[in-house]
Amino acid sequence: MEKYLDILEIAIYGSAVALILIGLYGALTKKSLIKIVLGLSIMDSGIHLMMIALGYLKGGTAPIFSKGFENSADQMVDPIPQALVLTAIVIGFGVTAVALSLVIRLYRHHDTLRIDEIKNLKW
């Protein structure tokens, strides 16, 4: 179990980092607006994952004072990262929504989704 958890922890951290890097790669190299938005979302997810992982206590319980767990405050995982992630997810959701709506308008305006062709504003 311990070993499993260790591996899991590494896997979670690893996948978080991988997600962040994938997201970065996508957002920075792909020319399609949609893909860029996707990349941003992926990166966000990676970060959220990482935050959760950081707040995780090995073998801890959910940070809820329910029956049977009245005195196990030091057993609980840290609640704050979870709260933060919730907020962050909401925000990320909002950003993505705005981004997609902007993509729609850009497509209407420019008839393309390639970001390097949308350069009316420069210098």
Binding site: A27, M51, L84, V98, A99, H110, N120
Partner: protein, 493 residues
Amino acid sequence: MVGSPVLFVAIPLLAAFLIPLMGMIWKEFVRIIPGLVLAYMLVLSVSLIIYIQSHGTIVEVISGWGPPVGINLVFSPFSGALTTLMTFLGLLVWLYSHKFKRNVDYEPAKKYFILLMLMVTGSVGMVLTGDLFNMFVFIEIVSISGYGLTSFFVRRDSAEAAFKFLLMGAFASSFLLIGIMIIYTQLGTLNMAEIAQRMPQMDYHMKVFSLIFILVAIGVEAETFPLNGWAPDVYTQAPGPISAAMSGIVVKAAVYANIRIIYTMYDLQGAYEYLLIIGLITFIVAETAALKQERLKRMLAYSSIGQMGLAMIAFGIGTKEGVYAALFLMFSHAIIKSLLFFSGSYLVYNKTSKYIKHVNGMGKYLPITAFLFTLGAFAIIGLPPFMGFWSKLALLSAAADSNLVILVAVILVVSIVEAVYYLRVVNRIFFFKKRANTKPEKPTINAMIAMLSLAAIVLVIGFYPDLVTGLIERAADDLMDKGRYIGEILSKN
């Protein structure tokens, strides 16, 4: 105590929700409510400022959870001064855009004012909050409302600008999250005062990493050099008052966050040098880029970036004089740049492209607007006896007192570039022939009042800077006194 700092966040947020609802009752409420709210906030902040002069900093604890656990709002002389400035500018922006653009009817106006309210909420929240994650939330509120406002005009390239803003903003929020995360894992708290208190315990490399992530993230909003690609586009494409609000409210809040983090939370000396160097680079690049601009608002945008660079330089000096100068710069820049954006958008009113050449000969058709723009231009160049001079003097004097002779020289040389491009526009306004296809548009009466009140401030402060210097000095004292900040907040426990 006449009110609580919570109201600064709560009331505009509430107003943002109420606007569509009240709008169903009477459409004019959509335009009126924001004004009432902002006016109330202004009154509130002024009275709070007076209050804290005798009673000391207000630390407001939300829902009973004291620091460091709960979220707290801090109304110190520093944040209070900024809040007053922001609400005042917000009020003027509302006044200016109250009837702006006859083509804006109920639906767009509703969106516009909701987003404006959100933007004010976020900015004021950023300034008042004493909690790092809360700051993140407010930054996101500001950003999202900013995206929306930027893309307000459908027919322009506004979506492009908004998308660039969003792209940068998304990266920034990711970085900020990472930075906050590092701090939290290391120190286990998000309260800024407590972070500041515990900072010496933190591992050096972690400290630096977290600082870098946070600086880069906030730097996007604060328009530091390599991160400010969005800013010219957004200023160009956003509605005129929003450009003013961006430079006067949002960026100020971001700079505040930047400074609060560096001055209060961290104890890294190198951060000051970072501010100095990056500020200088920002200043130079922005001012030189502005020289050959063809669009008026883009030029103003670069100028705005440059001025923020100047403020960062001043903060980077790190002495009390430096902070004083920086605050003064921020204050005067907020006022003057708003004036410039306000009057500038009427000078190039009817054109979507807003080329500088469209201001040709406007002095004859829009004499007052042109005069106000000129006043703003003169003030921002730093010509006495206008407001910009005193702030520039404070900056240079602070730099000289710290023996940074080269810095003084560089700032002054670049200021010449600034003077050149502003005067080129002024010359065009007054001494060029109007182009045949430009139609001058008279400013509405409310816009005129907004501009005139800004101009009055520029002139009055120019002749009598003592009106604000006391306030700014106290704010600077407040920022410099880290121990008192920590003490005041943590003692609320």
